[in-house]
């Protein structure tokens, strides 16, 4: 596991995880080997009439992430992520990005086999 993407509305590790995947404001992509993080804005997907989840999945894949942590992932986004072999940890709402990544590293976030929304 090298790169992990966490949905977040704001660009720092101490900001809250954005519970929405498809209409997330952006995501922090963290390289778990170098511990470098960069923020990718997802604003354009937020304003799509339909298919925001699919568009966001494409953005996450382009960023090279292999794992996504978010609150709620809809069925279409889930399918899109699965196509690219990206694993999903969901129900990570009500915590900061840093907390979500720490939990993930401790093995406390199971990978989902189906969407929770």
């Amino acid at each position: 596991m090298k790169k992990i993407a966490v949905t977040s509305e704001d660009p720092t590790l101490d900001d809250q995880v954005d519970p929405r995947f498809g209409r997330a404001g952006g995501f922090l992509v963290m390289d778990l080997e170098t511990m470098e993080a960069r923020y990718i804005d997802n604003g354009a997907s937020q304003t799509m009439s339909q298919g925001a989840g699919i568009q966001t999945a494409e953005n996450v894949a382009k960023a090279g992430a292999e794992v996504v942590l978010s609150g709620y992932v809809g069925p279409k986004a889930f399918q899109a992520l699965a196509t690219a072999g990206i694993k999903v940890g969901q129900d990570c709402d009500n915590m900061t990005v840093r907390e979500a990544i720490e939990k993930f590293q401790k093995g406390e976030i199971p990978f989902a086999d189906k969407p929770n929304r």
Binding site: Q16, P19, R20, R23, Q46, T47, M48, S49, Q50, A52, Y72, G74, N116, R117
Partner: protein, 289 residues
């Protein structure tokens, strides 16, 4: 953050009057009118617009006549009968245009423009019950569900900024796109129905939709005394499907009276229906966690 959504598959069941009453009873919430096609909640809450934003959605084709050679490719390709032909002049009928871009892509002269469509306005307002987020689509515009998603986002943003943990939303009628979009991310749906054959039929359809999206729901039977047998059948259905029955409300012209006075029914002093609505709200708060 909790989001409680009031919906009814069928219109006219009293959903909006109930949403207004719940807005009066709930502490510390953001109110949201997601029925952007024909919103009514503002008639009871008299929102004062603090912020007005134009809403653009999708695009529509427009044929630039200067470059058009009248070849008719656009008319052949359009699946929505949106291209009108008079002699050899081709124009787009905006009412029928789906914004699919096929004519734009296949026009040999590349003379079809594809501007964004201005479809309506959305507002953040203050009301006597707190902040309200609402919108109005222009008549005849597509209700794509995106405006619904946008309002929900705004409501969440405002809730977070102000440490508010409840969003109370009045949903759209039906079971199509606007409703599906309203349900997205909701914690609890209050299904308002009436004891008529159509009421029961539509309740079953909208309840199936909630189940489809795994959203917990409870039922309010409004005007229950109009047809006690039909009301009993709805109760039976709720028991079988494990939907909590939140209230049976009487058919009471005081609902219309409140509307005429532009108030929530719970603001009109002690009434039987007001008491029942208060009890229902207590149940909803317990169930929505």
């Amino acid at each position: 953050m909790r989001e409680i959504l009031i919906i009814s598959g069928k219109g006219g069941t009293g959903k909006t009057s109930l949403t207004a009453a719940f807005s009066h009873l709930a502490d510390n919430k953001i109110i949201c009118d997601l029925d952007v096609d024909a919103p009514d909640l503002h008639l009871l809450l008299q929102p004062c617009h603090e912020q007005e934003v134009a809403f653009y959605a999708g695009n529509e084709a427009r044929i630039n006549q200067d470059g058009c050679t009248g070849c008719g490719t656009c008319a052949q390709m359009c699946r929505y009968n949106a291209i009108r032909q008079e002699n050899d002049r081709f124009t787009v009928d905006p009412i029928r245009c789906e914004g699919c871009k096929v004519c734009v892509s296949f026009c040999p002269e590349q003379t079809i423009e594809f501007p964004e469509k201005h479809c309506g306005t959305w507002y953040v307002s203050t009301t006597r019950f707190g902040t309200m987020v609402h919108a109005q689509l222009f008549p005849g515009e597509e209700n794509s569900g995106r405006l619904v998603a946008l309002l929900k986002n705004e409501a969440k943003k405002l809730a977070r900024e102000n440490n508010i943990d409840l969003i109370l939303s009045d949903g759209a009628p039906g079971i199509g796109c606007p409703v599906i979009s309203s349900l997205s991310g909701a914690n609890f749906a209050v299904l308002v129905t009436e004891p008529t054959p159509s009421g029961r039929h539509d309740l079953e359809r909208v309840a199936s939709l909630c189940d489809h999206f795994r959203i917990r729901s409870g039922v309010i039977i409004n005007k229950a005394d109009l047809n006690p047998d039909e009301a009993a059948m709805i109760e039976q259905y709720c028991r079988e499907r494990n939907y909590p029955l939140l209230a049976r409300l009487p058919h009471d012209p005081v609902i219309t009276e409140a509307m005429v006075q532009e108030r929530a029914v719970t603001e009109l002093g002690e009434t039987e229906i007001g008491r029942e609505i208060r009890q229902a709200w207590t149940r909803i708060e317990e169930l929505a966690g």
